[in-house]
Each structure stands twice: as C-alpha cells, then as structure tokens.
C-alpha cells in the first residue's frame, strides 16, 4: 500500500486548486481542490482535507477526503475513516472503514461493468474486444 508521499509520482499540494481534466500515467496523491475530471492509470489517493468535485477514473481510488462526483475504479475503491463519496461508484471491490460515508448508486463486484471506462484507459481484456460477433452468411 502506498502510504508515503514518496510512493506517488505526482502530488497535488494542499494549497493548489485546479479546474479541468487531469490525467496521470501512474499513481497520484491529491491534497488540494480539483474540479473536473481525474484519470489515473494507477492508484489515486484523495487525502484528508482535500475536496474533489470531479469524475474520477482510476485503477485504485483511496479516499480520505471528499469526492463529489462519480467514481469508477478498475480494481478497488477504499474509503478511509473520514472519507466521503457523494456520487455513483463502480468498482470491482470496495472496502469501507467505520466513519466513512457514501451517498450514491453503487455497482460493486459486478464483472461485466465494474470499472468499465476506467479499465479501457488502463488495460483492455481480449474478451472485451471479442464481444461484438460478426455473423457471415
């Protein structure tokens, strides 16, 4: 688990605020305020005190702060004790600590759609490519 700030390739500091689309090639930690869309191919940590009014797409999303928007994780959504998500969640698995809060529609562990768009940005399974069948006559 990436807990140290050194484990993240990108850190958005607590005094930073950003409006727009953010894309990370690997892991990132958000301490400031972001409005827009955040896409990460690795782990994304929204630390305590930070507020994101954003759509989040990542492989793993760790929430200690507040996310106001939809969250899609290819693998895991982890809510720490003071973490809060107000929006829809799609993930393969989710862990939630005592004290965390969720308000929104959830789709967890349902393989066909879990992290659909997040996966498309990270890795595409061969089964997904094969899906549309062409019938020849």
């Amino acid at each position: 688990m990436a807990t140290n700030s050194q484990d993240f390739n990108t850190i958005i500091g607590p005094d930073a605020s950003f409006k727009g689309d953010l894309k990370f090639e690997s892991s990132a930690q958000v301490l400031g305020k972001i409005e827009g869309t955040i896409t990460a191919k690795g782990r994304l940590e929204v630390s305590g005190g930070s507020e994101c009014k954003a759509t989040v797409l990542a492989k793993e999303v760790i929430v200690e702060g507040h996310i106001q928007g939809n969250v899609e994780a290819g693998d895991l959504v982890e809510l720490k004790p003071k973490g809060m998500i107000t929006g829809d969640i799609v993930a393969a698995r989710m862990s939630m600590a005592e004290g965390a809060a969720i308000d929104g529609h959830c789709r967890i562990g349902v393989s066909n759609n879990a992290g659909g768009s997040a996966k498309s940005s990270t890795e595409v399974k061969p089964a997904a490519i094969r899906a549309p069948k062409v019938v020849t006559t």
Partner: protein, 142 residues
C-alpha cells in the same frame, strides 16, 4: 481467591421499526407491542437458510442470511444489522452494521445502514446511504 461472577445482561434497548420509539425489553423477548405506536414488533433474530420470498422482513434484532439463504423482499428492516453470506434482493434499512460475505450479493433500490463491511467478492447493485440512522417519527396528536 475471590471468584467474581459475571452477570450476563438481561435487558436490552430496542427501537421500534415503525415509529423509532425506544423501549427496554428482556433479551429473551421474541416479540412485543410498541408503546409508541401500539403495533406488534418482532424482537428475535431472524435466520434465513433457504429461499424466502416476503413482502417485508422486519425485526428489532439481527437478520442473518446463510450461504444458501436467499431473500426476495420489498423491504428489510432490522435494528441490530444484517449478516449476509447468501443473496438479498430488496431495500435495506438498519441502524446497525451490515456485513456482506465473500459470496454475498445485494440488489435493491436503497441500502441505508450505520456502517458496512464488504468482503472481496461481494456484489452490490443499488444506491447506498451510509451512515444512516432511523429518524424518530413524531407522535400524532389526538
């Protein structure tokens, strides 16, 4: 050496799932009448081991759904939480803790609970409101 006898709790506090009225009952109580709304309420724990299609599954105690248990209900209400290893379909309302095992699945409109523990492999489809506490309804003035 003086051996201390530990006295097991004989009374417990429950909240009516109709009106939210708090009352004290014996731990052995299976059902009672709420003094707040005069409705009959179930206090005992409910264990579901097979398929159970019901309208409402309500108790002030705990609902436990075993591996082979499957509940298809409109509404599940309980005071002390839900422990699920099987599958549940329906709206869930509880002040307590919801524990979903690795092979558990829940599908419904809304899941309102105090806290939740989701094991890896559990499936969830529906809206969640966590943490949640039952609001106390006001008494109707005559």
């Amino acid at each position: 050496m003086v051996r201390m006898k530990t006295k097991a709790a004989t009374r417990k506090m429950i909240r009516c799932y109709f009106c939210g009225h708090e009352l004290e009952v014996s731990v052995k109580t299976m059902s009672t009448t709420c003094p707040g709304c005069n409705k009959a309420i179930k206090v005992e724990d409910v264990v579901v081991k097979t398929y159970l299609p019901v309208n409402d599954l309500q108790t002030c105690g705990k609902i436990k759904i075993t591996k082979r248990g499957r509940v298809a209900a409109r509404l599940l209400q309980c005071g002390e939480g839900i422990e699920c290893e099987g599958s549940v379909e329906g709206e869930i309302e509880t002040d307590g803790h919801v524990k979903l095992g690795p092979k558990a699945s829940w599908k419904g409109k809304t899941l309102r609970c105090g806290s939740i523990d989701i094991a890896v492999g559990a499936q969830i489809i529906g809206e969640m409101k966590i943490p949640w506490k039952r609001p106390k309804t006001k008494k109707k003035s005559k």
